[in-house]
Symmetry: C2
Subunit: 241 residues, 2 copies
DNA sequence: CGTCATTTTGAGGTATTTCAACGAAGGTGG
DNA sequence: CCACCTTCGTTGAAATACCTCAAAATGACG
């Protein structure tokens, strides 16, 4: 049997759905082999950050790519109007640090205490250019993120706030590493963050949440936990684009 | 000086902004080397399709990836509500055929008469797994598409239809291969397609266009051409998210 | 040149945004 | 350990902007 990974940092697998048909068996299968993780570990630095810490700012020099190990991060953009648009929430096994011409496109901030790996971008590109199998995993991962982004764009085009909120809940619930139970959804982010993600006002998010509760689809417990009361009707509302 | 490309199908370069800093000189530099195009040409089939032709349907087996050579394609999704959401417009040098578990995520249809290259997906994945430099170009391209998608998601979160329409015009205008002149914007797609892309109703798109015209930012000539009258104010409106 | 899809215009309904004020929670420092 | 303060959440009421429905005009295409 395989020896457990040594003391060197154990880079986590990526979370993604492959674009090729799945000839093999089970579904949520880690993307990286142990060997690939070892390779990545050579240039990775493990970092542990407290909650609400700015990791990098938009337009700053993009020196690193990050991989979430544990915790939740938000990627957001401050708009001229003063609003704050959330481009993505990053959960464990997600990558972040999207760059354009060597500059970060968005800002990134931890939501919870977060452990992550930090890869120096030049070393990483060298590495994947020499290891096609490893590079392929990155390609799969980015492709997955593209699909998610397109889905979200379609999702937030709908008019009704309750429907959008339902989609968000299902979105977080389905994320295999978001730390939610089957019927419990962990919501570490603030209502404002959700509003920024869904393109709604903060008040609209609150009213949509109240409506979902009134219709007995979910029950909120405190601000960071939602219980799904009626999975079928919630999914139906979420899917009724 | 370099010899011109031989008779074998000349696969077009990709359109993308690299994520690494640009150490070299000029900006809109083709992504593929001649050698890489030759490699791709080995498995590519050149296809020429008339306007308004369905290329593939969502959930169909994804056997091919496509690269637009000339013309415009839309990637869209028919929603349960009967609405039609446009995920992306594909211009020359764009890739399309996004798949998930071997199935297409969206449907694709030509808008104009279109020339494209068709790559068998299994052969293509084999190829890029053996040619890291080539694979890297695909990674850059998909990363670019991801950025675009995130930008669009933020764009359509804004409330005002006129602002969204302005963003769309600038978006098309900036696309280096969309066939627009400096102040002329070619709009081969229908108003309904634009509405589906922006998450607006058809009527809202028309009224937003009328408002842009009333404010003398652009002038529409027929249905498929827009003249930019005031680039500065148009850009300002588009950027005033 | 006729047909049909697309575009355009009008009027009313409705959902969300905005503005404002209050209440609750979490973090910090004394 | 408590008080303070800042951030976040909540509720109400009015305004705005888009959506929907309906009908007419325009343009594309065979």
């Amino acid at each position: 049997m395989a020896v457990h990974r040594p003391a060197s940092p154990s880079v986590p697998p990526f979370h993604a759905t492959p674009f090729l048909e799945d000839g093999s068996a089970s579904d949520p299968r880690p993307l990286l082999t142990d060997a690939q993780r070892q390779t990545l570990a050579q240039i990775a630095v493990r970092v542990r950050l407290p909650a609400r810490l700015l990791i990098y700012q938009q337009d700053a020099r993009a020196d690193w790519l990050f991989a979430v190990v544990d915790g939740v991060v938000k990627s957001y953009r401050d708009l001229p109007s003063g609003k704050r648009a959330v481009a993505a929430f990053l959960f464990p096994q997600d990558l972040f640090g999207l760059a354009e011409r060597g500059r970060y496109v968005n800002s990134a901030k931890t939501i919870t205490r977060t452990t992550m790996y930090r890869f120096p971008l030049p070393a990483l590109t060298d590495l994947i250019k020499r290891d096609p199998g490893l590079q392929f995993q990155f390609l799969v991962k980015v492709t997955h993120a593209l699909r998610e982004s397109q889905r979200r764009a379609i999702a937030i085009a709908r008019r009704d706030a309750a429907g959008r909120m339902a989609m968000f809940l299902v979105f977080v619930q389905r994320h295999p590493t978001a730390g939610s139970g089957d019927l419990d959804i962990a919501l570490p982010m603030s209502r404002s963050d959700i509003a920024g993600f869904l393109g709604l006002s903060l008040e609209a998010v609150i009213r949509a949440s109240a409506e979902l509760e009134r219709r007995r689809l979910v029950a909120f417990e405190g601000r960071h936990l939602a219980h799904v009361l009626d999975p079928d009707r919630l999914a139906k509302l979420a899917g009724a684009v």
